[in-house]
């Protein structure tokens, strides 16, 4: 008997992922992506990883999707719409073919290999304090490297965008 919550969440994830790629307006697509990511956060809660769900919502929905929305607004043309040419039909068909083959291969392998009767072990969650201690002791080096990497990424992104603006200004002056 499939769990109704799981079915609802997976339907939300799949349908809004398809909507994100197929929506005519890019803005609506970004909102669809946000709903898909929220659905994934719900799956994390079902699997007992509440803190990951919080992290997923705050980082993905709160930061990444908002960043994408801002970028979409920045790359709009004066007419207010992004010029998006129609994909040629054979490209879409090739995409469906490749994606379907990959998904079928993965799902078939899973059905063959993973026993359906595999039950999840008892688990009552762990307190956040324990988790923080574990993360800061066993993964201390990785955390520091992650921090440095995020700083480098921010500086790199700013540099990319800023240098470009100076070049355009000098180009306009010539």
């Amino acid at each position: 008997m499939p769990d109704i919550v799981f079915l609802t969440l997976s339907g939300l994830v799949i349908v809004s992922a398809i909507f994100a790629l197929e929506a005519r307006e890019l803005i609506y697509g970004a909102v669809g992506l946000a709903f898909s990511l929220i659905g994934v956060a719900g799956l994390f809660i079902l699997l007992g990883a509440e803190y990951l769900a919080m992290f997923q919502v705050s980082v993905y929905v709160g930061a990444v999707v908002v960043l994408i929305l801002f970028t979409i607004m920045l790359v709009r043309r004066e007419s207010g719409r992004i010029v998006e040419e129609e994909e040629p039909g054979r490209l879409g068909r090739a995409g469906i073919l490749v994606a379907g083959l990959v998904a079928l291969a993965v799902a078939g392998a899973v059905i063959l290999v993973v026993p359906m009767s595999l039950e999840a072990p008892e688990f009552h969650g762990i307190p956040l304090r324990e988790l923080g201690r574990y993360l800061a002791s066993s993964y201390a080096v990785a955390l520091v490297i992650l921090g440095i990497l995020i700083g480098a990424t921010v500086v790199g992104g700013l540099t990319l965008v800023k240098v470009e603006r100076e070049e355009t200004n000098s180009g306009a002056a010539q």
Binding site: I68, T71, G95, P121
Partner: protein
């Protein structure tokens, strides 16, 4: 509780949708959507396998923690590149950004 294979099949479906977008879309921002979907498919697998191992392994969850942070960074750099490409070319259609082709 759902069997493990249902989570993996869901993740395979999400991976398929992401690959479909990567193959057939021409807008750079939609390609970024597809990459995010594929990363999320991998994350679901990590969390599900960690939960269904006995005893549950926190390692998989921590890997997802780092993976989400890395995906946020990837989106930042990707969007900066898209912005630069738009300013240089006036389009973000990846099939017309072919200036590097010989």
């Amino acid at each position: 509780m759902e069997p493990l294979s249902s989570y993996i099949i869901l993740s395979a479906a999400l991976l398929g949708i992401g690959i479909y977008g990567l193959v057939s879309k021409r807008n750079a921002i939609r390609l970024l959507f597809s990459v995010e979907l594929i990363v999320n498919a991998a994350n679901i697998n990590f969390v599900a396998f960690a939960r269904y191992s006995n005893p549950p392994m926190l390692t998989g969850w921590n890997i997802v923690f780092f993976s989400i942070a890395a995906a946020a960074m990837e989106a930042t750099v990707g969007l900066a590149l898209i912005l630069v490409a738009f300013r240089l070319n006036g389009t973000i259609d990846v099939r017309r950004l072919n200036r590097l082709r010989g």
